[in-house]
Symmetry: C2
């Protein structure tokens, strides 16, 4: 029973994340999250007493954990900062194309739609982006950049990826990702190739 | 009378744009746009028979026209692609700081919140970003880059700026803009300095 409850709960978090990526926060209806996760009516407030805000926070936290794990794996497989940039942007690009340009970032809508409400929800954009940027910066430094350059490259990579997710979706084209990757590879190549 | 009508109409478009930048599309209420623009109740559907969707399209179109005009002026004042990148990112950074990290892009929410509805509204993200990217690319080419490099730099600059608007707002810091500018200046410096 505990396992089934956990499973239903997890499905709701994943469904909330999918809709956040597709539609943002305000356009995501709890009823739609229930339908998508095949959860029984009324089970949202059983699992998530904080309702939609709590679901969004947990979806965002899941997204950040997953991003950091992917960055760790990509860093282990990359021999250079340029390789990590390539792998990180490649994952975002691949996910966008696989979703037919429907799924962007989970965190960005919470920032752009100025979702404050609870302190916890107002805070997740800052906590989430900090965790991703710090993870990238630590790996870039371990791969040979000095601390300042590592932090700047982490900021540039995350900002570029967030923006490319927006313009690529709008244009239904991977051109922004491809241009960004070429620019960042060019930027770091003298440092590591 | 015609002038006063035009003035009231324009105020509503400007108010809609401000709220789009601050809160996105779905969280923007028509009643709030009326209050902000000091327009009389009931005047929205007189001026905008298409309601909130029409207001959002006109706000986005105004934003794009203004961006393109600013790019034209910045290009005329810049002697190089790096100078134009610096001026363009500088304007976005300045506006964000002046708004106490409250105002992002007008177009991004329409993409991220998947605002389709009317064809016109579904289309504005694509038309808007295309116009801005093509304007920048034409100026970069006129300033000496070959066509492919000019287009790539335009895509990178716009994606970077869009993302920096998101992460800077989340972190309440200009660090993403500063890192991005350093990276792009470094990127184009060999080509024009």
């Amino acid at each position: 029973m505990a396992a089934r409850r956990t499973d239903a709960r997890q499905k709701m978090v994943l469904a909330a994340r999918q809709r956040l990526r597709e539609r943002g926060y305000h356009a995501t209806a709890l009823s739609d999250v229930l339908t998508l996760s095949e959860a029984p009516r009324g089970s949202v407030y059983f699992h998530f007493p904080g309702g939609k805000a709590q679901l969004a926070v947990e979806a965002a936290e899941l997204h950040v954990r997953e991003q950091v794990e992917r960055i760790d794996r990509a860093a282990a497989a990359s021999g250079s900062p340029a390789g990590l940039v390539r792998a990180y942007l490649g994952m975002a690009r691949e996910n966008l194309v696989a979703s037919a340009y429907q799924q962007g970032c989970t965190l960005a809508p919470l920032v752009i739609e100025s979702v404050g409400g609870s302190d916890e929800l107002g805070d997740i954009g800052s906590r989430g982006f900090s965790a991703i940027i710090e993870s990238l910066a630590a790996h870039f430094a371990a791969l040979g950049l000095d601390d300042g350059a590592a932090r700047r490259l982490a900021h540039t990579t995350v900002a570029g990826m967030e923006g490319a997710l927006v313009t690529s979706r709008a244009l239904r084209s991977t051109e922004p990702f491809d241009a960004l990757l070429a620019a960042l590879e060019n930027q770091v190549t003298p440092l590591d190739d």
